[in-house]
């Protein structure tokens, strides 16, 4: 039994209801939203106070509404966070409803002090937070009941939203909530021992399935407000271009077109770059027709016209020189003393990649001249709210910011420049009084940048007499979207000119390589780039794990054994996943069909370790993945069903990198892909037919989930393909086998 201190100075100043009931039900959220400006800004600690009033609402009918401080975009957080709170609260799970919290200090990430969803931090950072919230609410309900009955609280127990007294008294949470809300918040609450968990650790189905299966789940793009208009933006064909002249006569002649005007565009680090034309109309289709009939002459002078093949040449040149040093262990010149015949020299090429979440980007804003209201499927509420406020010329607390369910994201809905929200705000400002929904068409999305950057790697590996890597010299070349942005991101993520997001999965490899040198070049290119689910590991894991496989093949050692031999004593997580993977895949790995081969890969991302085995054959000159087995070590698992789904889905998302038409390329400044006909993500037949997921039992704190499956699938498939074709694949996407 542990005692925890849930009190903080900020909370002592708080006089709000802690739990609301009855008529207060609907007031709760708006109460929090319309906090006086002082309450939102007067202290930094407000968000660490965790007032339960912002998170839990017990309704008179017994329903328990739990606010989720993250974006739900598939990863299941609108089920798993309520599970944690409900478990500690002893709430009746069948009565739990989850809501996505609006932008407010209380919902900021407890560590980062920003309201955001990224880096797979939701459970690692909010596990204890939601436990404490649940335990606090429970304690207040129990105290209320015990007071009514004149008994000691420790003689009461709670289960399924009912408090029971020692003489068989009972009271439902709904009956207690109003009084409980008036109580002082307890200084200390007891958290459950893991053996007492009723929900945590169980395979619990999602709370949002029904609505998502009958068409009634509202996503950001489904927003509909009285008098609402739809806006599209015509953007320059090259990033950073400006409007030179515009002929909008034909466009304006379409009935339903309300306004056409120029707006500034922001692109990546260069925040005031270029301009576009906004078209506001009564309907999407009207706006689309008008945009198609618009004649804009663009000024594309004075900006770089990026070109993938030219960039490749430039990157390869850079890769032949040492860059900013990320890690240097042992003797840098060791590689030169290894005979050439014992060296592997490998050059890898990775293209730009689009995220292409199924719900196209969108933002709805209504601005009345003083206050604004925004509806955004946002991964980054704090920044997006500030950006809207800045464009509108108001303070962030004058922007009521609703978090809308998002149709995927994969990193695309978190940008440091909030460019979609700035566009929407510029339009809403001009259209004052009229709500406007800005939609990016799929073409806008595919051509619109913020890609996973293009990368080139050059690696020299020297093999020692024991067939293990004795020296490793690795140069990584690719853009950084963090460098030159200043605090907080640059301060946190960049050291000595090295963007840590570009090297993760390589520089921090758990394999022991005595002489290990990784350096990086970050060229500046006129293509906005951003994080793509699992970020640096998307390319680094591919390089590391295909090379390790090459070394294992050369050594004629089983690839799992070889990896185990490369691990130092303390690499418990990787040892655990590899061992579990071997155990769970033995039966099928030793019973492969003819012309099938096995590929292995492993990766650690944000303290979660993953090992994967795939069964691959070649059909129609493409890899056909019959099966994937995954082992994962991620600490304590809140919902094994979510983990299973995330890993199944994440492997498929990772396969985007292998798809023959999965790349974004540029020629003379123009993006050459527009839509799913020439940027082709994985369809069902590209995905593994079956995926089984196995979890290493652990009681350690929960670590990352959502991004972790992505990196391993491509190197695993490439390693299997090698066995079938004898070729090493170092250029993605796989255009030919």
């Amino acid at each position: 039994m542990r005692e925890i201190d849930s009190q903080s100075p900020a909370f002592n100043r708080r006089r709000f209801l802690q739990i609301t009931a009855a008529a207060a039900g609907g007031v709760l959220v708006s109460l929090y939203l319309h906090l006086p400006a002082g309450a939102q800004t007067d202290n930094q600690t407000a968000s660490t106070a965790f007032p339960p009033d912002a998170f839990v609402n017990v309704r008179p009918n017994g329903q328990i509404v739990i606010q989720v401080n993250r974006l739900e975009f598939g990863q299941g957080v609108s089920t798993s966070l309520p599970m944690i709170l409900a478990d500690e609260m002893d709430a009746d799970w069948s009565q739990v409803v989850s809501e996505l919290a609006p932008a407010a200090d209380a919902y900021k990430d407890p560590l980062y002090q920003l309201q955001m969803t990224g880096g797979s931090i939701s459970l690692p950072h909010s596990f204890q937070q939601y436990r404490k919230l649940g335990a606090t609410v429970r304690a207040m309900l129990v105290a209320t009941a015990s007071e009514r009955w004149g008994v000691r609280p420790e003689h009461c127990r709670a289960a399924n939203s009912v408090v029971y007294g020692p003489l068989n008294q009972s009271a439902r949470y709904a009956e207690l909530a109003t009084d409980a809300a008036q109580r002082p918040r307890p200084d200390k609450v007891r958290l459950k021992n893991p053996s007492e968990f009723r929900l945590i650790g169980k395979r619990v189905r999602r709370l949002d399935s029904r609505l998502k299966c009958n068409g009634s789940q509202r996503f950001g793009i489904d927003m509909d407000l009285p008098g609402m208009m739809t806006a599209l933006v015509a953007r320059p064909p090259i990033f950073g271009g400006h409007v030179k002249t515009i002929d909008d006569k034909n466009a304006r002649s379409i009935p339903g077109v309300v306004d056409i005007f120029e707006i500034p565009l922001v692109r990546g680090k260069n925040w005031s770059s270029g301009s576009g034309i906004a078209i506001v109309a009564d309907r999407f289709w009207t706006a689309k027709q008008a945009r198609d009939r618009l004649n804009v002459e663009w000024d594309l002078s004075g900006i770089e016209h990026p070109d993938s093949s030219m960039l490749l040449g430039r990157y390869k040149e850079l890769a032949s020189t040492v860059g900013n040093v990320a890690v240097s262990r042992g003797d840098q010149s060791a590689i030169e003393r290894i005979p050439v015949a014992e060296r592997i020299v490998a050059e890898y090429e990775f293209p730009y990649l689009a995220h292409a979440p199924m719900e196209p980007l969108n933002t709805t804003i209504r601005f009345d001249g003083n206050r604004a209201e925004a509806w955004v499927p946002s991964q980054f509420q704090t920044m997006d709210q500030s950006a809207i406020a800045e464009v509108l010329g108001v303070k962030p607390d004058q922007v009521t910011f609703h978090t809308e369910y998002a149709g995927g994201g994969f990193g695309r809905r978190i940008t440091l420049d909030s460019h979609v929200q700035r566009e929407a705000a510029a339009i809403a400002k001009r259209m004052q009084g009229i709500p406007v929904k800005l939609i990016w068409t799929r073409e806008d999305d595919v051509e619109g940048g913020y890609y996973r950057p293009m990368f080139v790697h050059r690696v020299e590996v020297g093999v020692g007499p024991d067939a293990m890597p004795a020296a490793w010299k690795h140069v990584i070349v690719g853009q950084s979207w963090i460098i030159k942005t200043g605090p907080p991101w640059e301060t946190a993520l960049v050291k000595d000119g090295v963007d840590s997001l570009a090297i993760e999965g390589a520089a921090d490899t758990p394999y022991f390589i005595p002489n290990f040198h990784v350096s990086v070049h970050h060229p500046e290119v006129n293509v906005p780039v951003s994080q793509w689910r699992s970020v640096g590991c998307t390319h680094n894991c591919f390089v590391m794990e295909t090379l390790i496989d090459e070394l294992a093949t050369r050594a004629k050692i089983d690839p799992i054994d070889y990896r185990l031999r490369l691990l130092p004593q303390n690499a418990n997580k990787r040892r655990g996943t590899l061992t579990l993977l071997r155990q769970e895949s033995t039966s099928w790995r030793h019973d492969l069909a003819r012309n099938h081969a096995v590929g292995i890969a492993a990766n650690e991302y944000h303290e979660t370790d993953v090992a994967c085995a795939v069964d691959v054959s070649i059909e129609n000159n493409r890899p056909r993945i019959h099966r994937a087995t995954v082992a994962v070590h991620m600490g304590l698992v809140v919902n094994p069903l979510t983990v299973e789904s995330q890993f199944q889905g994440g492997l498929v998302f990772g396969l985007t990198q292998l798809m023959a038409k999965g790349a974004i390329t540029l020629k003379d400044g123009l993006v050459q892909q527009q839509n799913f006909h020439n940027f082709v993500p994985p369809y069902m037949s590209d995905a593994p037919v079956a995926i089984d997921v196995h979890i290493v039992p652990s009681s350690e704190a929960p670590t990352a989930c959502g991004e972790c499956p992505v990196p391993v699938i491509c190197p695993a498939v490439a390693n299997a393909l090698f066995k079938l074709t004898g070729k090493r694949y170092r250029t993605l996407p796989l255009t030919a086998l």
């Binding site: 739900e72 598939g74 990863q75 299941g76 189905r205 999602r206 949002d208 399935s209 029904r210 609505l211 998502k212 299966c213 009958n214 068409g215 009634s216 789940q217 509202r218 996503f219 793009i221 489904d222 509909d224 009935p255 309907r283 999407f284 289709w285 009207t286 027709q289 995220h355 292409a356 979440p357 199924m358 719900e359 196209p360 369910y405 149709g407 995927g408 994201g409 994969f410 068409t441 799929r442 069903l641 789904s645 995330q646 199944q648 889905g649 498929v652 998302f653 396969l655 839509n675 799913f676 006909h677 993500p681 994985p682 369809y683 069902m684 037949s685 995905a687 593994p688 037919v689 995926i691």
Partner: protein
């Protein structure tokens, strides 16, 4: 602008729109039925799949002027259809959805498949579902849910 009479989920509706307006946008913006989703606008992703006279169709490329008298069924109408209900329930019990944005289209495609072939093989499933993109990658569970629904649809005694 001309007026069109359409039958959506058994109800007669009248809409006055440009003849080229895709059925998708008529459903979403005129009839306020937003369960049918915009994903690509070029019939490449299947998020906008509806049934047109019982056949799965990409509503983003069907102009309203070409719908004629063919009855339209959308995701909102599936609850009144026995096969639709079974498919939805299978989706829920297999915990298929993640972000859920493509799932209206996936479910409409699956219902069409099961109505024409109540006992689909893996190959049949891949062929029928092969044009629907799910960026979350729920394909493994979609496959399981279709098989589970097929099991439910089989006459008692032959399950």
């Amino acid at each position: 602008m001309p007026t069109y009479n359409v039958t959506v989920n058994g109800q007669h509706k009248e809409v006055t729109v440009d003849p080229g307006t895709p059925l998708l946008w008529v459903l979403r913006e005129e009839l306020k039925m937003t369960g049918t989703k915009y994903g690509c606008g070029v019939a490449a992703c299947g998020a906008c799949t509806v049934h047109l006279a019982g056949i799965a169709a990409r509503s983003c490329v069907v102009p309203i002027s070409l719908v004629g008298s063919r009855p339209i069924v959308t995701i909102e109408g599936t609850i009144r259809d026995p096969v639709g209900r079974i498919v939805q329930d299978a989706w829920i019990s297999e915990d298929v959805v993640q972000c859920g944005y493509c799932q209206s289209g996936q479910i409409m495609a699956a219902i069409a498949l099961l109505k024409s072939n109540p006992n689909p093989t893996d190959t049949n499933i891949e062929q029928s579902m092969g044009g629907n993109i799910c960026r979350c990658g729920t394909y493994v569970r979609i496959r399981q849910a279709i098989k589970a629904a097929a099991q439910q649809l089989r006459p008692r005694g032959s399950r």
